[in-house]
């Protein structure tokens, strides 16, 4: 390796991004990248560490919006959003990633930029219509809706171009007034597990406890998260109670979305477990 860049603020970061080539690597928490570097014997020409840009770690939550810095760790995202009913799915997802050690280093920005199909945060950010704030080489900024962010071109997984990094995710909480959200994942064991299905659900209930509106986004099924309008239609007008009939009907909406038969069968159970979380 020739160069290691460790910028201390966004201005320095913007300049550093201009020095990156196709052989450079950007280091966030390192929980995925360090493994890849070792497994593939990667020799970057430039290693850019985001560790010292403190502005990237900020989490600012007001009644109007939540701005979560890309370098906020899973542990801090969980701590900051736990108990906020509209953002609860973020806490559920961040709190279930890997082990405590992984949650103390792995970042929300890394989870999204790495764009593993099994990543948990993308489906929740998709559910909550997050906007992705991106810093470009030289310091310019651009903002993309998360749904568009994952429409990569030319074989890339995301819209991130060479030398671009995520600065933060912004969620408009005024649009979420009256909504509650939850996330549950299916894994091979209860902790330290990789998602086989990630289920992110947001519901808006009326005063009688009937679901007025619903959003359902599934992860770990396709390369990127996807919305399930058929499941949303089923939920509207119902109570958020995981009755066998409701869960079977919801599970049916998975048909045709996955080639894995066990996931089709497991979907009803994942719906059941996710709906149970609305009794919190």
């Amino acid at each position: 390796m020739n160069t290691c860049l460790i910028p201390r603020n966004l201005e320095e970061l913007g300049e550093a991004l201009g020095q990156l080539t196709g052989k450079s690597l950007i280091l966030a928490g390192g929980t995925d990248l360090v493994l890849q570097m070792r497994a593939k014997h990667l020799e970057p020409d430039v290693l850019l560490s985001l560790s010292d840009v403190s502005a990237l770690r900020d989490i600012i939550i007001t009644p109007e919006r939540a701005v979560i810095g890309a370098m906020a760790t899973m542990a801090r995202v969980k701590e900051a959003t736990d108990g906020l009913s509209d953002l609860q799915a973020l806490a559920d997802a961040a709190g279930g990633v890997g082990s405590p050690q992984i949650r103390n280093k792995g970042t929300i920005g890394g989870n999204v930029a790495n764009a593993s199909p099994a990543a948990d945060l993308p489906s929740v950010l998709w559910l909550l219509n997050a906007q992705v704030d991106i810093l470009c080489p030289g310091g310019l900024r651009r903002v993309l809706p998360i749904q568009q962010f994952f429409q990569g071109k030319d074989g890339r997984k995301t819209q991130l171009e060479l030398g671009e990094v995520i600065v933060s995710f912004t969620i408009d909480r005024t649009a979420l007034q009256g909504w509650r959200s939850a996330f549950h994942k299916l894994g091979h064991r209860s902790q330290v597990t990789i998602s086989r299905i990630g289920m992110a659900i947001a519901l808006r209930l009326n005063s009688e406890g009937i679901i007025e509106d619903a959003r359902v986004v599934a992860g770990a099924i396709k390369p990127i998260p996807f919305q399930l309008p058929a499941a949303e239609d089923i939920l509207r007008g119902k109570r958020p109670e995981p009755t066998p009939g409701l869960c079977i009907a919801l599970g049916e909406t998975f048909k045709g979305n996955t080639r894995r038969v066990y996931k089709e069968n497991a979907a009803k159970g994942v719906f059941e477990d996710t709906l149970k979380l609305f009794a919190r």
């Binding site: 290691c4 560490s49 560790s51 010292d52 050690q101 280093k105």
Partner: protein, 156 residues
Amino acid sequence: MRLNFFVNGEPVSLDTDPQRRLLDILREDLGLTGTKEGCSEGECGACTVLMDGEAVHSCLTLAAQLNGRHVETIEGLEKSGELDILQRAFVEEIAVQCGFCTPGMIMSAKALLLKNPNPTPEEIRTALSGNICRCSGYVQIVNAVSRAAREMGGEA
């Protein structure tokens, strides 16, 4: 790169490759071999140390991420030849068999007790969920952490 950080409260300054792992810096450059290398991929927890008070994998932490950070290893627990309460509790509860997982296990427990001095057995299991032990069966380990919490003044 010139790396300046703290290990067990002492300032450390060394010239190193930015891609060098904290695990290798501790074991090979600083001779602190209490931190163990197990899986090398963030699964087993044997290499767990505290970074700014949080449990992290030293095998997934690079020198490029360490500037100014405070790292605590198992060697930092012993004070003036006396074992820390946690270390003693592991001995007294026979929570050690082969001992390879023990330093990581104790550092994860330490991180838990720093934040939560009075954890439930469930909270202890969650805090240790990233640490694998292939001999003990975990019961004695959870007991040892509960015991340490009690002796430190928590009420568990």
